[in-house]
Amino acid sequence: MAGPDPTWYLALAGFLFTIGALGVLLRRSPLIVLLSLELMLNGANLALIAFARHLGDEDGQVFALAVMAVAASEVVVGLGLIVAMARRRLALDVDEMRSLRG
């Protein structure tokens, strides 16, 4: 087998996913939360592609492309929301949006 095992790729994917999750959990700026979400999605994509290679089946790559499309859609909607918030002169801070508080 040339190069590293899928295990290494998967570990890297997990690491990337964890970094993204940490960003989502720690940051208050909605922009950076969205960026962190991209990191998580890319972690998942890496895992998908690693498995596709391991199994010799391109379905994983197809799935990764679909995830990319969905991620692009999510960014459009997310950024649209952020722009709308800014237009309403709301603070760009996820902690400030707590109308759901019980």
Partner: protein, 188 residues
């Protein structure tokens, strides 16, 4: 392009070198994304992250995905980010400001737990099964194969993806125009 990498042992070393470099760049840029105070830098770091991932995809014989990663992700999505950040201004919260609190502590703990679990699962349960990769032809991951799959086996997923994109586009327009109306109302 992938065939030589699979063949020789000198190639193996080169692959390892490339892998280590790409993985390091990937983790470093990932950490940078979540650490910068300025979202503009974060977005730039994300470009680096995406590029390093594209390299890894190439190592995994996923040429089309690597190309799409660079073109669509780094080229289009992140550029959109940059436009919005430029529009809104570059200030954001400092990630570690204010010292540790319950939320931060718990976040780190949860993330660490997830990572530990992934690693533990890989090390303890999956070692043997992942050791031998399938032999693949040089056409693996080529645009022709992927395109064939999209238009045959995964046609439904393909079409649904297109609908999702359409909905997102319409949603973006609606959000933007709605915000403009509110603006006018407040000004008027």
């Amino acid at each position: 392009m992938t065939a030589p990498l699979v063949a020789s042992s000198a190639g193996d070393v080169l692959v390892w070198v490339v892998w280590v470099a790409a993985a390091f760049a990937c983790v470093a840029s990932g950490v940078a994304v979540i650490s910068f105070r300025n979202p503009f830098y974060s977005a730039l770091a994300l470009i680096g992250n995406l590029a390093s991932l594209a390299v890894l995809y190439l190592l995994l014989a996923a040429e089309l995905v690597a190309a799409a990663q660079v073109l669509v992700y780094a080229g289009a999505v992140v550029v959109m980010f940059l436009f919005v950040i430029a529009y809104l201004g570059g200030q954001a919260d400092a990630p570690w400001a204010g010292g540790p609190n319950v939320q931060k502590l718990a976040s780190v703990l949860a993330s660490a737990a997830i990572l530990a679990e992934i690693v533990a699962a890989l090390a303890l349960k999956a070692g043997d099964r992942l050791s031998r990769a399938a032999q693949v032809s040089s056409a693996f991951g080529s645009p022709r194969r992927i395109g064939q799959l999209f238009l045959t086996d995964h046609l439904l997923a393909f079409e649904i993806t297109s609908v999702v994109l359409l909905v997102a586009a319409v949603g973006g327009v609606v959000l933007g125009s709605h915000a403009r109306r509110v603006d006018e109302g407040e000004e008027g």
